[in-house]
Symmetry: C2
C-alpha cells in the first residue's frame, strides 16, 4: 500500500522545479543588487514568539499554526511567517550592535499555515521576504517597495497594482482607534461575534472582516488619514515623493490596514490585475513595524519589510502568459557498444565530468538505437560513440547533433574536443 | 523579555551564510553535471512513511522524530531523512512510468532529529542527497559514490577515506542473518537489552551497538563477505572495477552495515581523516536499497543514493584549513550632501540598480565622513558624491576607490560610467 503526501502540501518535481530555481535565483540576485544579505532561521520557533510577534488575536495564531510539543516538553511552532523569526534572530544575535546599520536582510523560506487548501494556497508555501532594520528614513520604505516591484517587473509581469496607505505613528493610531470605537459601538450588535470581540481590543481589524464587509458602517468608518498628526503626514508625503522619484505608480487605499499594534506608517500591497488570476489578487504585502523589535526584547528599532508568496508569483506569471526559459541541455552523451567499451565508458564519462562537461550515459543496458533516443531526449549537443573496435584503436566517434558532423577523436582528447565545441 | 532560538537549532547569519551559498551552489552545479535533477518534498510527511521507510526498530523512529498531530488529527513527522520522502514522491507521482530511466534526483533540504546537541550535530540540519532510481547497473553505484567524492574534492578536501562494503542480495543476507543468530545466541545474555531484542529481529544491528562494541564475539562474528552468493560477489566486483576505472580509492570494511531489510549490495561511507575533526568522522553515507520502492507501494525498482550533512562538510573544510572565497563587494555607493541631493540620490540609486549595478546609500542621515566610512566597509568600487551644487550643474563626482581617481560625470551617464568601470 502506498502512502500519500500530506493534504495541502505538494512535491516540486523536475520539469516544474526549474521555474522555482529561476525565480529564486532572480530574487537572490536582486537582493544582492539592493545590498540585502541572506538570513536563515530554523523551520520552527518557540510558540511564544508568534503569540507575541504575530499577535494572539490574529487568525494565524488562533487557527492556523502547526504547534506541537517536542520530546523536551517545549511548545514549538512551524513558522507561519518570517518577520517574527528574523526579529527574534536580530535581537538574540544583537545585530543592532553591528557596524553598517541599517541591517538589510532577505529570506527565501517555507512557511506553514493550516488553512483550507485551494488554488494557489498550500499549507506549506514559500515566501521571499526582506527586512530593513534600523532606519526611519522614508527613502528606505520606497527602497523596500521598489525591490518587490523590481522582481515582478524583471520577471516580466505587467499587470501590477501597488496599493499604499499609512497607519500613522502610535499617537495617530490611538486617536483613530478611539474614533473607530465611537463609530461602531452604538451598532456593534449588528456585527459578527468576531467583530464584537475586536471592538475594544483591536477595532481596526473590523475593517478587515470578510463577514461584515457590506455593512453600511464600513464605508463611513473614520479613516486613519483624517487622524494623522503632522509628523505622520510629513512621513507619508516623503514616502510618496520617493516612490515618484523612482517612477513607481501607486494607488492610495485608506482601507488597507494592519491589525497589529507594532505596525505603523507605511503599509502596502502589490496586486495582480491579470485576467483570470483568481479571487485573491494580492501578490505581496509589507509595511513598517517600528515597535516589533522592542516588543521582542530589543532596543527601539524602526524597521520595514515585505513578504511575497512564490506560489502566487508563479500563478501571476502563468496568468499573464509569461514562460520562463527552463530549457535544459546535456553537453555529451556517451554511447557504448560491447563489454569492453561499456567498461571504458565509465572512466570516459568520469573524465568528461571532471572537466566540467555535463554528460551522461545509459545505465539500463540498452541497444544502440535506444541509447541514441535517450541522447535525443536529453538534448545532447554531442554524442560520443564507442565500440570495441574503436576502443582497440584508441579512438571514439563524436557526432555533433546539430550539424550532424561526425569526427574521429583520440580517446584522451575527448574532453578537450567537447569543451571547444560546447 | 526576549525569546531564544529553540535548543539544538541555529541561525545562519550574513558572514556565515555565504559559505552555505557556495557549497550549495557547488552541489547543484555538480548534480547538474552528472545529470541529476532537483526534487523538493514537504518538510513533513505522514508518520507512517518513516515507520515503514526508515524502519520501526531504528533509533531515528524510536527516539528522534519530531512527530505531532495536526488540526485534522493526522500524525505528521518532520522529515528525519530524505530517502523515504523521495521514494514516496517517486511512487505517488509514478515517476517509474516516465521515459528516461533511471530517474536521477538530488535534494538540498533541512532534516530534523531530536538528538542531544553537540559539536556539528543539530536538531535541524541540512542534507545534500541524491537518489538514482531504476537501474541495477553496478556502474551507477560508482557514479553515485563519485558524485559525493567530486563535491568534497572540488571544494578542496584532501583527507578523505572511502569505506566500502557489500550487504549482498536478499538470499545472501538471509544466510548471513542465520549465521549471526547462531553466533550470538549462546552468549546473548552478556549483551545489552537492545542487542537481546535485536537478536532475532535484526541481528545485523548488534554489530552497530555502541555499548557492546568491545565484546569478544564482535570481532569473530561471521562476515557477510563469507555468505555472499555468486551473483552478489560478481556485482560487488563490478562496483569495485568501476571505482578503479574512475581512480577512486577505497578501503573495504565488512563491518559497515545497514540494519534495514531493504538495503542490499553496495554500502559506503566517506570519512574525514583531518586532525582534530572530532569523534564522528563520517561525512556521508549511502547505499543501494533495491527493496524500498516496492515496500512503499511501487513496482520493484533497484535504487541507490547517498546523503551528506552540509554542517559536517563545513566542519571538514575548517579542519583542513580551507577557506571559501566569500568576499562581497559593492559596485557603487552614493554619497549625498544637502536636502536636494539627498532626494535626488533616491532616483539615482534606483537607476543604478535598474541597470544591474549593485549599489547602496546611507539611510541614517549620516555626515559625509561617516558615509565614506560606510562605503569603505562595503568595499565599494566606486563612490558617487552628490552635493546640491553638483546637482544644480547636473553632474556628479565619481571616485574610483582603487585608483583614487575622481571623474566628473553627467548625472544621466552615471550608470553607464559605472558599468564600464566595474
Amino acid at each position: 500500500m502506498s502512502i500519500n503526501i500530506p493534504r495541502g502540501t505538494k512535491d516540486i518535481l523536475p520539469g516544474e522545479v526549474e521555474k522555482w530555481q529561476i525565480i529564486e535565483a532572480k530574487a537572490k540576485e536582486i537582493s544582492a543588487r539592493f545590498n540585502y544579505k541572506e538570513i536563515r532561521t530554523p523551520m520552527f520557533e518557540h510558540t511564544d514568539l508568534f503569540q507575541r510577534g504575530v499577535g494572539d488575536s490574529t487568525d494565524i495564531v488562533q487557527k492556523e499554526m502547526y504547534t506541537f510539543t517536542d520530546r523536551g516538553d517545549r511548545s514549538l511552532t512551524l513558522r507561519p511567517e518570517g518577520t517574527a523569526p528574523v526579529t527574534r534572530s536580530y535581537v538574540e544575535n544583537k545585530l543592532f550592535g553591528l557596524a553598517g546599520q541599517p541591517i538589510k536582510l532577505y529570506y527565501i523560506a517555507p512557511m506553514f499555515r493550516y488553512e483550507r487548501p485551494q488554488a494557489g494556497r498550500y499549507r506549506q508555501f514559500v515566501q521571499f521576504g526582506i527586512e530593513a532594520m534600523g532606519s526611519a528614513d522614508p527613502a528606505i520604505d520606497a527602497e523596500v517597495i521598489s525591490l518587490a516591484m523590481s522582481l515582478y517587473k524583471e520577471l516580466g509581469l505587467k499587470k501590477l497594482r501597488l496599493v499604499l496607505n499609512t497607519l500613522g505613528d502610535a499617537e495617530s493610531r490611538k486617536t483613530h482607534k478611539e474614533a473607530l470605537i465611537a463609530h461602531f459601538e452604538p451598532s456593534i450588535g449588528e456585527f459578527c461575534s468576531d467583530c464584537q470581540n475586536r471592538l475594544t481590543k483591536n477595532p481596526l481589524r473590523i475593517l478587515d472582516c470578510k463577514k461584515d464587509r457590506d455593512h453600511e458602517l464600513m464605508k463611513s468608518a473614520p479613516s486613519i488619514i483624517d487622524h494623522l498628526n503632522e509628523e505622520s503626514k510629513v512621513y507619508f508625503e516623503q514616502v510618496k515623493t520617493a516612490l515618484t522619484e523612482m517612477n513607481i505608480d501607486y494607488a492610495l487605499d485608506p482601507t488597507l490596514v494592519r491589525g497589529l499594534d507594532y505596525y505603523n506608517h507605511t503599509a502596502f500591497e502589490i496586486m495582480s490585475d491579470a485576467d483570470g488570476f483568481g479571487a485573491i489578487t494580492t501578490l505581496s504585502g509589507g509595511g513598517r513595524y517600528n515597535g516589533l523589535v522592542e516588543d521582542l526584547g530589543g532596543p527601539p528599532t524602526p524597521s520595514i519589510g515585505f513578504a511575497m508568496s512564490l506560489e502566487r508569483l508563479l500563478m501571476a506569471l502563468e496568468a499573464e502568459g509569461i514562460t520562463l526559459d527552463t530549457e535544459d541541455v546535456l553537453d555529451c552523451y556517451v554511447v557504448a557498444l560491447g563489454d569492453d567499451a561499456k567498461r571504458k565508458s565509465v572512466s570516459l564519462l568520469n573524465e568528461l565530468r571532471q572537466a566540467g562537461i555535463k554528460s551522461d550515459k545509459d545505465y539500463l543496458d540498452k541497444k544502440m538505437k535506444a541509447q541514441f533516443k535517450a541522447a535525443d531526449r536529453l538534448k545532447a549537443k554531442f554524442v560520443a560513440i564507442l565500440g570495441d573496435e574503436e576502443l582497440a584503436k584508441g579512438i571514439i566517434n563524436v557526432k555533433n547533433m546539430q550539424s550532424g558532423e561526425q569526427t574521429e577523436v583520440r580517446l584522451e582528447e575527448l574532453s578537450s574536443f567537447i569543451k571547444q565545441g560546447k
